[in-house]
């Protein structure tokens, strides 16, 4: 428990992201691109609330593990046999899938059918023994031989002291992620790059770790390599299903950032200080959510919440309606904080029908009543203030339309303040109302994002003019900006839109961002 958070703090201070306290007067009204990090619109004033990956630190850390893994591996002989089995596999697989027609899960689907094959994105999780743990579509039983083949491929390449990364066919790619003791495989028909897909698999990995802790996971498989992990994860598949759904649609997961409920800063400060007052010895984080939007986040000094952990909490809260029925008390591992231990989260809605959900994260398993008391104190304090009314009002319009920004031909945008790890984005306009259209737009943003953040050839800006929309993306040391224009938009319009939009965000930053996060 002790080591990890320390490390997080240290890397924070040494990193280039070290937030600097700045006075209001330093914040220019019309920010220029040369903005120093920490002064861009949306940058927090006191200090950041949570650790946010600058780009893909998670994947680089993985490379180090691989070097270790490679050193441990030395078992080349048996693999030729393995492959022999695997080439002739098809027939067995067909038999198997025919046998399993009596399964009774809602996910049931014929895994040899065209419909199953043509899902946009498959995700499989298996153990290193090749045992199925999770599949997004179909049942694990029906896919056990397919997953066996996956594992055989992974270990065959490993035996050559090499690591399998991905397979590419026209319009389809398969990516592999080994995170001992698990192996994750994604099969995608989208245009996403390998790196984007790996990032998504990594989220799924952390989702599973958050339920069990890595220590427990390792322990299980050390004792019984052949263990069927589904026994432990039974009933939690919906969390992974939901997370995958979010990954397709939530810009926050793409940007490694969180968005806030638009709220007058006076009201937000009031909420934050009420949260601050309701502290307790073992309380590490208090998070107030409105749906998927952050209202306020308080943390113990020196403790930072990683955006991945925060998204896992969002996913937990958003995936289950049971927290609506009363006060929930659940263990949760926050893997970016510490993969070894559980926190305990007190999860409850402020009022039965309200969107406002309070999450109090404690280190103590026996802390339920303390946390429950904290919530009571917070609510008592808050409801005495007018800020509560303002907050309830704000819930009625949790977003804003792009018309409010007043830039012609601008349809949608994403803006992320790098130093605060917060982003803002208007609601989808009419042209992107259907689920498919929204996912398509997200796909375009994903493309832009991966082009700009290419591991060896990153770009400063990217402009794409197509038949259905014009897109502009721009990364500086302070912010990331993604704009979507109608195809009628010109380059001149796009250039002037950036200036206008930054001005507008600066004007609205009080409402759109949390500028003065507090600690206990």
């Amino acid at each position: 428990m002790d080591e990890e958070p320390q490390r997080a703090t240290v890397s924070w201070e040494n990193g280039t992201l070290a937030p600097v306290d700045r006075l209001r007067s330093e914040r220019a009204d019309s920010p220029t691109p040369g903005l120093v990090e920490g002064t861009e619109p949306g940058a927090g004033q006191e200090s950041a609330m949570f650790v946010h990956a600058q780009s893909f630190e998670d994947l680089t850390a993985q490379a180090e593990e691989e070097v270790q893994r490679e050193a441990e591996l030395d078992k080349s002989g048996e693999c030729a046999e393995e492959l022999k089995v695997l080439v002739g596999e098809k027939t067995i697989e067909e038999q198997l899938s025919n046998d399993i027609t009596s399964e009774s899960r809602t996910k049931e689907e014929d895994v040899t059918s065209e419909a199953w094959r043509s899902h946009r994105k498959h995700v499989f999780v298996l153990s290193e023994a090749g045992k199925p743990i999770y599949t997004r579509y179909g049942t694990e039983e029906a896919l056990s031989s397919t997953m066996g083949v996956m594992m055989a491929l992974v270990s065959f390449v490993e035996a050559e002291k090499n690591i399998i990364r991905s397979i590419h066919a026209d319009g389809c790619k398969v990516v592999f992620l080994s995170k001992s003791p698990l192996v994750l495989v994604g099969v995608s028909r989208t245009c996403q790059t390998d790196k984007e897909l790996l990032r998504e698999l990594l989220y799924i990995y952390y989702q599973i770790v958050s339920l069990l802790t890595l220590t427990q996971l390792n322990h299980i498989f050390q004792h019984k390599q052949n263990y069927d992990l589904r026994r432990l994860l039974a009933g939690s598949e919906y969390l992974t299903d939901n997370l995958l759904h979010r990954l397709d649609r939530d810009p926050g997961l793409l940007l490694s950032a969180v968005t806030c409920l638009p709220l007058a800063s006076s009201a937000r400060d009031m909420v934050s200080s009420s949260l601050q007052a309701a502290k307790s010895k073992n309380l590490v984080f208090s998070i107030l959510l409105a749906g998927d939007r952050l209202v306020s986040l308080l943390r113990k000094k020196d403790q930072f919440l990683h955006h991945i952990d925060l998204h896992l909490v969002f996913n937990l809260v958003g995936s289950s309606s049971s927290f609506r029925e009363g006060e929930g008390w659940t263990p949760i591992c926050l893997p970016k904080f510490n993969t070894a231990g559980f926190f305990h989260a007190h999860i409850s809605y402020l009022e039965p029908a309200s969107e406002l959900c309070l999450i109090l994260v404690s280190t103590d398993r026996e802390d339920f009543f303390n946390m429950s008391d904290c919530k009571k104190r917070f609510l008592e304090r808050l409801s005495k203030r007018s800020a509560y009314q303002a907050l309830k009002e704000a819930l009625k319009c949790p977003s804003y339309s792009v018309e409010q920004v007043g830039i012609p031909e601008l349809r949608h945008f994403l803006y992320k303040s790098k130093s605060s790890g917060l982003y803002t984005s208007p609601e989808f306009p009419d042209v992107y109302q259907s689920d498919e259209e929204q996912e398509r737009l997200m796909g375009l943003y994903q493309d832009l994002h991966s082009s700009l953040h290419h591991p060896t050839r990153p770009l400063r800006s990217f402009y794409r003019c197509g038949e259905t929309e014009n897109l502009l993306a721009w990364v500086t040391s302070g912010f990331e900006l993604y704009l979507c224009f109608s195809p009628l938009g010109t380059k001149a319009m796009a250039v002037s839109a950036v200036t206008k939009l930054l001005k507008w965000i600066r004007k609205e930053e009080d409402r759109l961002f949390i500028l003065s996060p507090l600690t206990y």
Binding site: A169, S461, Y463, R464
Partner: protein, 480 residues
């Protein structure tokens, strides 16, 4: 290939390795379906000294990958496998015949202190699938140009003949692959056309007609000047690979005598002939030699109902080269070659100097060339025309580009983006080095421009490219 990085000057010796060919093999999974017979599947394996079991293992992996991918896309086969250390490219040119090329990722070797082995860092994102996928397909096209299909060898002499042919062809051909200098131009595999005025073009056309009429054996003719194509009677795809052979293999091998003085011993065939500069690049080197053999390389080109086998005669005078193709069923004699030499030699010499003169006049009109602010690559999918001001000269051994390799890869990335969507698009990016790169795709044409105007903004870059399009491609419409 080993390149020493500049950082080594600092004392710590870092070694940079460019991508290199690890394996190249051809197999057919139906040839050894039973256990213990796996070796029979392998028709060619480079390097041949690899131990048998390792060959079988590597082929087995490819089979497994292909089979596994079918679980998800039964109709679209696997094209590449990415691993930490290498990339493998799969290509099934004919039913069940697979060609696999394994390319090692570029890497950096960092020495460790205390006598520990050096740390190797693989650069996994440096290789573009589209580029090396195209290289594999070209390997097959080149084999097919000189040998016909795999199926043809099987029909003619069974597996033994096929193995023999593969061995003979790829042993030599693989040595000419230069994987470290492959780029976007390999993806296009285009043909560079020689720009010409109408009059001169008509002269060439009438020359071709006259020759084909006088020497009725000739089935197809192609005409090149300065390694650029002017006229071709072949199908586009056949011309594309023949052009590649001529410009990267045949012409470079014969360029030396041209440069040497007239009395140089390097050009004996010219010695007795004062009437013209014509000479055979394929077939007899000296017609006067009583020992001369009249054998020409055979090539296979497609016809409506399959393929036909042809003699390839390449005849050159100064910078002009004419290729004459004659059915392989005809035996070519000394008489025929002398007749051809007598007819074509003087005319081609004359044409060559005509074109040269024209070319110089045009150059003078367009004024002295300033070093432009931009460099570009243009490719037209309809006629395979390509034009590059980025590549100085592309031969088999070197491909000199005048821009940083990272910028070339950004062009490749943009090309991949274009390939995904079947609609007109424009992409403008600014690299971290502040270079602007513009890609335009319109109809079947693609244009890529690199601008070295670091302080320009999007609008200025757009204007600059518009100007370029107006001067260089005035009749082509690009989406704005």
């Amino acid at each position: 290939m080993l390149m020493i990085s500049p950082r080594m000057a600092s004392g710590m010796q870092e070694k940079q390795f460019t991508p290199s060919l690890l394996n190249f093999f051809v197999y057919n999974p139906t040839f050894g379906p039973r256990e213990g017979e796996e070796e029979k599947k392998i028709l060619f394996y480079h390097p041949s000294e690899v131990e048998k079991n390792e060959k079988i293992r590597n082929v087995g992996l490819c089979e497994a990958i292909v089979q596994f991918t079918r679980t998800f896309c039964p109709t679209k086969p696997a094209k590449s496998l990415h691993t930490q250390k290498n990339r493998q490219f799969f290509f099934e040119p004919e039913d069940n015949f697979w060609i696999v090329m394994v390319v090692r990722n570029p890497m950096i070797e960092k020495p460790n202190k205390d006598g520990k082995p050096p740390t190797v860092e693989y650069q996994e994102e440096e290789i573009l699938d589209t580029v090396y996928g195209a290289v594999v397909r070209e390997c097959y096209s080149m084999y097919k140009l000189f040998n016909g299909t795999f199926g043809r060898a099987m029909e003619a002499g069974g597996v033994e003949l096929l193995i023999q042919k593969l061995e003979k062809f790829f042993y030599r051909y693989l040595q000419t692959l230069h994987l470290q200098s492959c780029d976007l131009l390999d993806v296009f595999g285009g043909i560079s056309f020689f720009p010409l005025d109408k009059m001169t073009y008509l002269k060439i056309q009438s020359f071709v007609n006259r020759v084909e009429e006088s020497l009725s054996l000739i089935k197809y003719t192609a005409f090149l000047y300065n390694d650029q194509l002017i006229w071709s009677g072949l199908e586009q795809d056949d011309m594309r690979i023949l052009y590649k052979y001529l410009t990267t293999s045949l012409f470079p091998r014969h360029s030396e005598p041209e440069l040497a003085g007239r009395d140089s011993p390097l050009r004996p065939e010219v010695a007795g002939n004062l009437l013209h500069y014509g000479r055979f690049l394929t077939g007899p080197t000296n017609l006067k030699d009583p020992e001369a053999k009249f054998r020409f390389p055979k090539i296979f080109v497609s016809t409506e109902d399959g393929y036909e086998e042809l003699h390839l005669i390449v005849y050159k005078a100064m910078s002009a080269a004419a290729c004459f193709m004659i059915s392989a069923s005809v035996e070519l004699t000394r008489d025929f070659c002398e007749q051809l030499d007598g007819l074509v030699g003087p005319q081609l010499t004359l044409l060559a100097s005509d074109i040269c003169e024209q070319f110089t006049v045009n150059r003078r009109i367009s004024g002295p060339e300033k070093e432009p602010q931009f460099k570009f690559i243009y490719f037209n999918h309809m006629n395979l025309a390509e034009k590059s001001t980025i590549h100085m000269r592309k031969t088999a051994s070197v491909c000199l580009t005048s821009v940083h390799p990272d910028l070339m890869k950004i062009l490749g990335d943009i090309n991949c983006d274009f390939a995904r969507v079947d609609e007109d698009e424009e992409i403008i990016v600014k690299a971290m080095t502040d270079y602007w790169v513009v890609g335009k795709k319109s109809d079947q044409r693609e244009l890529y421009v690199i601008l070295n105007q670091k302080n320009a903004n999007l609008i200025e870059v757009n204007e600059e490219v518009k100007r370029l399009c107006a001067t260089q491609f005035n009749n082509i419409f690009f989406l704005d």
